[in-house]
Each structure stands twice: as structure tokens, then as C-alpha cells.
């Protein structure tokens, strides 16, 4: 039985953790692990897998395995960046709305409703068409779009927790807003926020992949899993396994993250488990 921080870790969560760690390692050490540089043409296009090219070569004759490793770096890094940014914006906004109440809450909530009323993919599509597909633009756009969803969760959590008496105690003591948010509310909202973080992270992943399909994703020659799937899709008809490597990588990481999230959610839910 494996334990982590004094908690017993169920098998799926363990698998999930292993997947995540493996991916993070791959992303961190891609330049050292990868047998070839990510953009170098090392042979014929669509060469089959062999001892040197473990997964074969891609549409330009670049090593698929190496690109997969570099892709981990780009995809994970990008999604992480998007998610971290969207959480920063969303949580600060949500907490401010919940605690500020009154017109701040009303204004922020209505604005968020408005953004939520816009189809995300279309919105991103138009914005990126206008602003260009610079990585920074991509990250900021997606993070902003994502942050409205985080805002809703954060606000709901803060409203619930804010109604609890220990928060009232702090307010009655005369504590400032910053203390109330960082010391009383945030630590208690962390578990659901982390779970949400996992989910949003995987959505960011798929979202970047969908944008890549429309030609607005990551710029070449950088590799990211989403655009790799797109670049390799034509050879599905040829029974080539190439598109399944990046697609599999996306699926694996998504599943890994979800396993861990499920476990975190279960941990969090335990407190409410006892009935009547």
C-alpha cells in the first residue's frame, strides 16, 4: 500500500501520479532525452519506425519520438501557463466579488455572464485572427476566456466559506480583506480549486489542439501535441500509427490528471460523507 503525506493512495491515482510525473520529467528534460533536435530533418518523410527512429519519422522527416518529447514541453508548458494565469485572474476576481459584495460583485458577475454567453472557440478564433497567433496572445486570450469559469467557482466557494463563522470571527476581530482572503478563505477553498485546476488544465490542452486544427495554434517548427495530430491526420488512411502517438499522449495525460483529480475530490468529499 503506497502512502503519500499520510494518505493512502488508491491504484488509479497512483497511476495518474506516475503519468504526470513521467510527463513532467519528459517536458523538463526533453533536450537531454530526445535523440534528435525537434526541428531537424533526419530522413525521409514518413519513414517507418526502426532502432534509430523509435516511432518513425513525420511529414517532413523529423523524428516523431523527439518531437513528442519536445511537444510535451510545449503542450504542458503552454497549458500550465494558461491555467495558472486563468486561475490567478479567476480566483482573485471571484474572491473579490464574493467578499466585496454589492456593486463590485454585481458588475463582475454580469460581465462574466456576458463573456460566458460567447462561444469560447469562436471568440478565441476571432481574437486570434485579429491579434495574430503570437504565443503570448494565445496564452493571454485562452487564460482570459478560461478565467471566467474559474471566477464562477471561486466566487461560489468564497461565498460558501465566507458565510462560515470562523470567517465572521476574523471580520469581527477587525482583520483586513487581505488576511480574510489569504488566511481564512483560500486554504479552505484549495482542494476544490486544485481539482478544478486539473480539469481546466486538460481542457486547455484540448483547446489548444482544436485551435491548431483551425491553424491558430502553436507556431512551427515548435512541436505541440495538438498540431502534431493535425499534421499527421492525413496518413490515417494509410494505416500509419503516427497520429496516434501525439493523440495517445494527450489522452494519457488527460486520463492521468483526471485520476488524480478524482482522488483529490474524493479526499475532499470525505468530510461530508457521514449521513444523518
Amino acid at each position: 500500500m503506497v502512502k503519500l503525506f499520510g494518505q493512502r493512495v488508491p491504484l488509479p491515482a497512483l497511476i495518474g501520479l506516475l503519468i504526470i510525473v513521467a510527463n513532467l520529467l519528459a517536458a523538463a528534460f526533453a533536450p537531454w532525452i530526445a535523440p534528435f533536435p525537434e526541428a531537424d530533418v533526419v530522413g525521409d518523410a514518413w519513414a517507418e519506425a526502426d532502432a534509430t527512429y523509435w516511432l518513425g519519422l513525420d511529414n517532413l522527416g523529423r523524428d516523431i519520438f523527439s518531437r513528442l518529447l519536445y511537444g510535451a514541453r510545449m503542450s504542458i508548458g503552454l497549458s500550465l501557463l494558461i491555467t495558472v494565469l486563468s486561475f490567478t485572474i479567476g480566483v482573485i476576481g471571484g474572491f473579490t466579488a464574493a467578499i466585496g459584495k454589492g456593486w463590485i460583485d454585481a458588475a463582475l458577475s454580469r460581465f462574466v455572464d456576458l463573456i460566458l454567453a460567447m462561444p469560447t472557440l469562436i471568440f478565441a478564433f476571432v481574437v486570434l485572427s485579429v491579434m495574430g497567433t503570437d504565443l503570448a496572445v494565445l496564452v493571454v486570450t485562452l487564460a482570459c476566456l478560461d478565467s471566467v469559469k474559474v471566477f464562477r467557482l471561486a466566487r461560489a466557494l468564497a461565498v460558501n466559506i465566507g458565510a462560515l463563522e470562523y470567517v465572521e470571527v476574523a471580520r469581527v476581530r477587525g482583520e483586513g480583506l487581505w488576511w480574510v482572503i489569504t488566511r481564512e478563505i483560500l486554504p479552505n477553498a484549495l482542494a476544490p480549486l486544485i481539482a478544478e485546476f486539473g480539469l481546466r488544465f486538460t481542457f486547455a490542452f484540448l483547446f489548444v489542439a482544436a485551435l491548431s486544427f483551425l491553424g491558430l495554434g502553436v507556431q512551427p517548427p515548435a512541436a505541440d501535441w495538438g498540431s502534431m495530430v493535425r499534421d499527421y491526420r492525413d496518413v490515417i488512411a494509410l494505416d500509419s500509427p503516427a497520429p496516434f502517438y501525439p493523440a495517445g499522449a494527450i489522452a494519457l495525460l488527460t486520463i492521468g490528471v483526471n485520476f488524480v483529480v478524482d482522488w483529490l475530490l474524493a479526499l475532499h468529499a470525505r468530510g461530508y460523507g457521514e449521513g444523518a
Binding site: R8, L164, E165, V169, R173, E175, E184, G273, G275, A276
Partner: protein, 540 residues
């Protein structure tokens, strides 16, 4: 179903043992070596402190255990058949027609999505006992028996549309719908206020007597069980302490624990403060929530140093709201509040830090009043640091001092609230209030979430602190017994207004204010004929 003659053995529980087992391995033993029998028409009272395993036993009789709990020993024979060996289908058939359950909180136990009638008729219809029409007419009959208003239409309402007391009775109707042999009452009146409790209790007793049903009545209030039970079993930490007839337990308790339980009820201690000038004074205070009804209407009162002012009244009468007005959480619309001869601002944020420090509050539910993510050092130390700007070491020393004052071990300082019992948590709440070195502490139902003995300990502690530190209390409660024992002044509230008030002796001595009298007469007394007396008195 067997023929209904009084005296048949309906349930025979012997050497019951229930344990917790999780994936991580075996857990604590919840119930150990408990045996009792139940005959037709007999009522067994199960009594014990919170966590004693009362509910666990009651549920086991239904063949039900909560998640991770398992019956690991003994037998439960219902008409001779062991519930433990029944198949899942047999067990389902047992629930409803065999054994039925009435839970503590009807509000939580009724499904908000269906009407009451749908839920009452569900058992007989689903078990295939009655046609929908027959089930409906039986339900209406039960509503009538239980004195519910408009029995014909009552069932068409949703749970949120009826009052708590009515809902509790509706649950009894639901349990009775399939004419069970055994009814399990799991603290069915604890959530009700005293005046309602009397009526509900009377309905239950009538029901049991008229239908000749056997019952297990779970409670932690001896006075309640005295009105209804033939036999009483006292439990502690999953084990039986004492078992005997109601009279024997009430009047000749054998075990020390039982004796203490019984004794608490009769104890009373008064207290007088010397007049030393007003600490807090309210004059014609008015407040309401968001322009809805006035929850505090023209309340005036006065607290002196060393006073304990008890605010009593039924649920929803505005007691907590009054406390919030004093704290500044609910801004007042009119009236003055003076504290140490200074005017207190209406809003929290307009008060000085010093004013905030001098009035502290202790809450009803220690579970939500303590941040589960902070250690006791942080919880108790924060006011010290915040109000007095002490160094880290000084804060720690002060926290240790306070822990000692609360009779809490010093090594608890790094624990989080999750690792404490309810009573201990409440002590931490008190320590946190004391850390600010206040003049006045507002206690909002500080004992009602605790069981009797633990609550008593807390009261004693508060009293001791008052003697040592001269703090004044504003003590909110709906338990008149407590009031008599600890308060020297009383304010009686009804619908936001103060209807009666003054020195405790004066208020609780004739001539009574009519509402005060109603409250007083509703407090159960440890006489098995008390309920009859009250009902007779009210009828007359």
C-alpha cells in the same frame, strides 16, 4: 406478519458488535456486547452521550449500517429470524412493514423534490401492501391521528412548506404507513424548540399506544425518555452501562455514570453580581434584514460588569440577530448602543480596534467556528498578536497559558481542530475569545451542539472564568434549565420584541408573563407523569 398480541417477543438482540472497517484496515468498535429484547407494545429508551452508538444500534435493527461499518458479532432476531443472515431483498422487505425509522431532522430526511403524501405512501405502495388509493386514505387517517392541520390537503404540500414540528409528525406518519412492528425514534424532538417538543412528544405517545407498536426511543435527554419509555438502557462508548425499567433508572440509578446523568438535571446554581455601573446598554434598538420583517424591535437592556444576562425565546425569535446587532454585523436602524459609556458605531467597520477587542463572541457550532486549516496556536494566538502586537514567543506563551486555563493539554498547541472532540473545540473557541481579554462575551447557544455532560462542563468553565476574570456574559439559549442555573438576569424574546425581563428570580417567579409561563411549562421534567400533567393543564 404475526398476530398482534401484547407481550410477544418481537425483537431479540444479543451480544451485538459493530465495527468500522475501511480499505486501510479495521477501525474502532462502535458497539460492543449490547443485548436487549423488545416485546409487543413495549418502548425501550436508549440514552447516552453523543457518539455513544445509539443511532448505530437503531439502524442495525433495520439491517442497515453506515458506510464502512459492519456487524461483526451477535444476532438480531426479528420474530425469530436473524436480520444478519437475511438476503438484501428480505432486508428491504423488513424495512417499512417490519421496522420503521424516524430520524432526528425531518427537514433533512424528507426529499425536497416530492410532496409529503408521495413520500408517506411510498412504502406501502412500493412494498406492494396497498393500492395507491388505499395508501392515500391511510395516510390521511394518520395525518388526522397526528393532529396535523387540514389532513385531506396536508399531504399535497412540499416539505419546505410546513413547519418543523409538523414535518416531524409527518415523518411519524411515514413510518406508520406500513403498520410496522417496531418504530425506531432517533432523537426525533431534539431539533424542535421546547414548546413544539411537547406537542410532538404527545402525538408520538398517542400513536404508539393506539397501535400497540413496539418502539426504540433514542435520546440524550432523560426527561424526554421518562415520558415515553417502559425500559431504559444507558449506553456509553458503545457499551451498555445500565439497563432497567424507567422508574428504576430514574429513581434508583445503580451506576455512577447514570447517577451523574440524573443528578445534572436537578442541580441548580444561582449567582449575583454587585452593581458596578452599566457595561453595555441598549436603548430602543431596531434592526431588520434587507427591509424584510423586523427581527429586533425596540429592545432595551443593560448589562453590568460580572453579569450574566440570559436571552431566551423560541427559535427564530431574534436572539442571534440581537447578538449580531451588538457585534455590529447587522447594522441597527434605530436606537443606541453604549459600551463603557461610549457610543458603539452601528457598523463593524466604524468601530475602533479597542472596541472590537472588548466584545467577543462564542458560537453555537464549534465545527464551523474554527478554521479547519489552522493550528490552535494560530487560532488562539492570532487575537493576541492582532490586538496586543506581541512577539512570537510571547504569543506562544500566552496560548499555552490559555490552553492550561481551558484544561487542554499543552501539546495540543500544534493540532488542528479536526483532531479535537466537540467539547474540546468549544474550549478552543472560548480560549480564542479570552485571548482578546474582553469585558463582555456573547455566547450564542454554546452548549446546544454538545451533549449534556460536556455542555455542563463548559458552563462550569465559563462560570469559573467569570469568577476569576470578572467578565460579563450575554448568554443566548432556549434551554430554560440552563438559564435558571447560570444567569442572574433574563430577557425573554418573542418575535423580535422583548416581552419580559429582569432579575432571574423575579422573571421565574409568579406572577409570570403568559409567554414565560408557556416556556417554563414546556421544559420536560424528570417525572414520568409530567407530560400528562402538562397536556391536562393545557387542555383545561
Amino acid at each position: 406478519m404475526t398476530e398482534r398480541t401484547k407481550g410477544d417477543l418481537v425483537l431479540d438482540v444479543s451480544q451485538l458488535r459493530i465495527e468500522v472497517r475501511t480499505d486501510a484496515g479495521p477501525g474502532p468498535v462502535l458497539v460492543d456486547d449490547v443485548s436487549f429484547t423488545l416485546r409487543r407494545g413495549e418502548v425501550l429508551g436508549l440514552i447516552g452521550e453523543s457518539g455513544a452508538g445509539k443511532s448505530t444500534i437503531g439502524l442495525a435493527v433495520l439491517g442497515y449500517t453506515r458506510a464502512n461499518c459492519f456487524i461483526t458479532g451477535g444476532s438480531l432476531r426479528f420474530h425469530g429470524r436473524d436480520i444478519r443472515t437475511m438476503s438484501a431483498a428480505e432486508r428491504r422487505a423488513l424495512r417499512g412493514p417490519g421496522v420503521a425509522y424516524i430520524a432526528q431532522s425531518a427537514a433533512a430526511s424528507f426529499n425536497p423534490a416530492h410532496t409529503i403524501l408521495q413520500q408517506v405512501c411510498e412504502i406501502p405502495i412500493q412494498q406492494g401492501l396497498l393500492s395507491p388509493a388505499a395508501a392515500r386514505s391511510r395516510a390521511i387517517g394518520l395525518f388526522r391521528e397526528l393532529d396535523l392541520p387540514n389532513p385531506e390537503q396536508f399531504g399535497d404540500r412540499y416539505p419546505h412548506q410546513v413547519s418543523g414540528g409538523q414535518l416531524q409528525r409527518a415523518m411519524a406518519a411515514m413510518a406508520m404507513a406500513a403498520r410496522p412492528d417496531i418504530l425506531i425514534f432517533d432523537e426525533p424532538t431534539t431539533a424542535l424548540d421546547v414548546t413544539t417538543q411537547v406537542e410532538v412528544l404527545a402525538s408520538f405517545r398517542k400513536l404508539i399506544r393506539e397501535h400497540g407498536t413496539s418502539a426504540i426511543y433514542i435520546t440524550h435527554d432523560l426527561a424526554v425518555v421518562a415520558q415515553i419509555a417502559d425500559e431504559i438502557m444507558v449506553l456509553r462508548q458503545g457499551r451498555m452501562v445500565e439497563h432497567g425499567t424507567a422508574d428504576a433508572i430514574l429513581h434508583h440509578p445503580q451506576q455512577d455514570y447514570t447517577r451523574r446523568l440524573v443528578a445534572e438535571r436537578f442541580e441548580a446554581h444561582g449567582h449575583h453580581a454587585q452593581d458596578s455601573g452599566a457595561l453595555l446598554e441598549l436603548r430602543h434598538v431596531v434592526a431588520s434584514y434587507a427591509s424584510l420583517l423586523r427581527v429586533v424591535n425596540d429592545v432595551s437592556l443593560r448589562i453590568q460588569r460580572g453579569d450574566t444576562l440570559a436571552v431566551v425565546g423560541e427559535s427564530g425569535s431574534g436572539k442571534s440577530s440581537l447578538a449580531r446587532v451588538i457585534m455590529g454585523l447587522l447594522p441597527r436602524e434605530a436606537g443606541d448602543i453604549r459600551f463603557r459609556d461610549e457610543m458603539l458605531a452601528s457598523r463593524l467597520k466604524d468601530r475602533t480596534r479597542e472596541q472590537l477587542r472588548r466584545v467577543q463572541m462564542i458560537y453555537q457550532s464549534p465545527d464551523v467556528a474554527l478554521n479547519p486549516n489552522q493550528t490552535l496556536l494560530q487560532i488562539i494566538g492570532r487575537p493576541v498578536q492582532f490586538y496586543f502586537r506581541r512577539s512570537r514567543a510571547e504569543v506562544r506563551a500566552r496560548v499555552l497559558e490559555l490552553l492550561a486555563m481551558m484544561d487542554l493539554p499543552a501539546d495540543y498547541i500544534d493540532r488542528k481542530p479536526g483532531a479535537l472532540s466537540g467539547g474540546q473545540k468549544q474550549r478552543v473557541g472560548i480560549a480564542r475569545a479570552l485571548a482578546a481579554e474582553p469585558d463582555l462575551i456573547i455566547c450564542d447557544e454554546v452548549t446546544s451542539a454538545l451533549d449534556q455532560l460536556v455542555g455542563e462542563e463548559i458552563l462550569k468553565l465559563l462560570k469559573r472564568l467569570q469568577e476569576e476574570l470578572g467578565i460579563a456574559y450575554l448568554f443566548i439559549t432556549h434551554d430554560l434549565g440552563t438559564v435558571k442555573r447560570i444567569a442572574n438576569k433574563v430577557a425573554v424574546m418573542l418575535k423580535g420584541e422583548m416581552v419580559d425581563g429582569g432579575e432571574t428570580e423575579a422573571v421565574f417567579a409568579p406572577p409570570y408573563h403568559p409567554y414565560t409561563q408557556l416556556l417554563l411549562s414546556s421544559v420536560p421534567e424528570m417525572r414520568s407523569d409530567w407530560l400528562d400533567g402538562v397536556l391536562a393543564g393545557r387542555a383545561g
